[in-house]
């Protein structure tokens, strides 16, 4: 374990002395919320990389987030001292790897405030979690003439699995519209709920626009019509406190890599009574209790949904990433990012010819924008050569782009290790873009 205060080790959540007003490395690190961003930045080795001989300014966190040293160390530690397969060996290493894997599951349970550890299924990521629900719950519960409701804000991964299900079952996919700010129009959403609505699948936070949906209310509305609700938490889990009990969602999916953990690991939370009634999705080892050629008995939750050797090291890394985030404090993170978003919004709004796309009243730290007369890909290339990483394109949300009559936007997405100085660098970079295309 590295000795930095923010390098939370397993179970050490809350011990990190971040955000305290002493030991400041330099004055600009102090913010109104008292968040010591310079101290946090030192926990992320990649942030001291240089890009084209300039300091790296990483503003593509909605695509994937960077990893703290503690997570990188956990992966090394796992393969150095703990590696074996889980749940079957009688030897020491298998006991260790099983303990690491199941500890991580308990960490996730606490992080989501799920009532039982059996409700935490490890997946490859959000996409796999959504596909699991569409294929297992969906194929068992959605029939001809039934309806599946999503919003226009969804990422392709929360559209396509439902289209596939709808096509197979001759069900109908309905889409709740958004207004010009990028907020789901709740009256329209409510009108689309009906007796045929079997499942509602909604992003908690839009990856393309940053809109935070009022999911608690939307879940309540859906439940009052008897529908089951899946929340795509890919963009929410790293930035907002998640409480599946308070939300009362039926399923919640998120990805480890956007939460400062490894790629290839994610989580599907599901209410135990729903998961128990669902047929398995993939067949294989670990998901069975006994196999004969006549009949196979399936394993208990959550193993019924974890066929094959899982990404054990990934789960270990995710557990440590969650410990790190909770050590910093998810509410502190949300407050700091809110402040940074306000600063960035104000800074970018002052740039002539720049238009922000997505101006919801409740937003996460995502800034989608277009610059008059300049294509987003040229913006991204020019910024890249100044060391600034942003995303340009449709952000896997083509219907959102279409809603605004755009082929693409540029998108800066922030994390709690970003700084006001980096926003200033972004603004200066955009001015340089305008200079080239003046």
């Amino acid at each position: 374990m590295s000795g930095t205060p923010a390098s939370a080790s397993r179970g050490a959540g809350g011990s990190a002395c971040l955000g305290r007003p002493n030991g400041l490395p330099h004055a600009s690190a102090r913010t109104a919320t008292g968040f010591d961003v310079e101290r946090i930045r030192r926990d992320f080795p990649i942030l001291s990389e240089r890009a084209y001989d300039r300091p790296l300014v990483y503003l593509d966190n909605a695509a994937t987030a960077q990893k703290p040293r503690a997570v990188i160390d956990a992966l090394v530690r796992f393969y150095t001292t703990e590696n074996a397969n889980v749940h079957r060996g009688v030897h020491l290493l298998s006991e260790r790897s099983t303990a690491v894997y199941e500890d991580a599951r308990r960490t996730v349970q606490t992080f989501l405030n799920a009532s039982s550890v059996h409700e935490i299924v490890f997946t490859r990521g959000t996409t796999e979690g959504i596909n699991l629900v569409a294929q297992s719950w969906g194929r068992a519960n959605v029939g001809a003439g039934d309806e599946i409701l999503i919003s226009l804000l969804e990422h392709h991964s929360n559209i396509v699995p439902w289209q596939m299900l709808a096509e197979e079952k001759r069900a109908t996919l309905r889409v709740a519209p958004i207004d010009d700010r990028g907020e789901v129009i709740l009256e329209e959403y409510e009108k689309l709920l009906g007796p045929r609505t079997k499942i509602v699948a909604l992003a908690h936070v839009s990856n393309a626009l940053g809109t935070v949906n009022p999911v608690e209310r939307m879940i309540e509305m859906a439940h009052s019509h008897g529908a089951v609700v899946l929340i795509d938490g890919a963009q929410a889990a790293p930035h907002l406190r998640t409480d599946v009990e308070a939300l009362d969602c039926d399923f919640f999916a998120f990805s480890g890599h956007k939460l400062f953990g490894p790629t290839g690991i994610g989580v599907l939370y599901g209410k135990a009574r729903l998961l128990e009634a669902m047929p398995p999705w993939q067949g294989g080892g670990d998901m069975i209790r006994s196999v004969t050629f006549e009949k196979t008995l399936y394993n208990d939750l959550p193993y019924k949904f974890e066929a094959g050797t899982p990404h054990i090291a990934g789960a270990a890394g995710l557990g440590v990433a969650i410990d790190y985030v909770t050590g910093v404090g998810i509410d502190e993170i949300a407050a700091y990012e809110h402040e940074l978003l306000a600063y960035a919004t104000e800074r970018l709004s002052r740039i002539a010819g720049l238009r922000l796309v997505g101006t919801a009243r409740h937003k996460a730290a995502v800034l989608s924008f277009v610059i008059e007369g300049v294509h987003p890909h040229d913006v991204a290339t020019i910024l890249d050569r100044r060391g600034i990483a942003i995303r340009a394109g449709h952000h896997c949300a083509q219907p959102v782009m279409e809603r605004y009559g755009l082929a693409a936007t540029s998108r800066a997405s922030l994390a709690f290790y970003n700084t006001r100085e980096e926003i200033d660098a972004l603004a200066a970079g955009i001015e340089a873009v305008k200079e080239i295309f003046h």
């Binding site: 084209y52 007369g373 300049v374 294509h375 987003p376 890909h377 040229d378 290339t381 020019i382 050569r385 100044r386 340009a392 394109g393 449709h394 782009m401 082929a407 693409a408 340089a432 200079e435 080239i436 295309f437």
Partner: protein
């Protein structure tokens, strides 16, 4: 601006991106192909009027980044009056230029197209520079109505 960016966004490229030439539907075209880059959404339609193995007229329509728009615009300027063989040879030279296979950038026939020499330092932008050319190639072959970079 760094000199590398100057190499990519040369004045002639910015000029053609902002004021594309031959940017219209060619009603008398006898070949028309749509090009599409699904990764970034760039779209281009190339219209060609071919007579006796010669490009009598050529135009384009579409939307995309500065590199793809300027490339299409300069392509139409370069090819008017050229034979199909000349056009294909030019595509080959251009492709070598933007993929860095022609380090000297000294192909005399490229003319203004030499402005794209900086693209080879930006591997992610090669497809932007060649989208219109792939569409042109398909138009000259005349057997595919749509081409994709993927």
């Amino acid at each position: 601006m760094s000199s590398e960016l100057n190499d990519l966004y040369q004045q002639v490229i910015v000029d053609h991106a902002k004021r594309p030439r031959n940017f219209r539907v060619l009603t008398e075209a006898n070949r028309k192909v749509d090009g599409y880059n699904p990764l970034c959404g760039d779209k281009v339609t190339i219209y060609v009027k071919v007579e006796g193995g010669v490009v009598r007229d050529i135009s384009f329509q579409g939307s995309g980044c500065a590199i793809s728009t300027a490339s299409a615009s300069l392509l139409t300027e370069a090819l008017k009056g050229k034979t199909i063989e000349d056009a294909e040879a030019l595509f080959e030279s251009f492709h070598e230029l933007v993929t860095g296979l022609q380090p000297e950038h000294d192909e005399p026939g490229l003319g203004k197209l030499a402005a794209f020499s900086g693209v080879c330092d930006y591997p992610t932008r090669v497809k932007c520079a060649t989208l219109a050319w792939h569409a042109l190639h398909a138009a000259l072959e005349g057997d595919k109505p749509v081409v994709s970079t993927e």
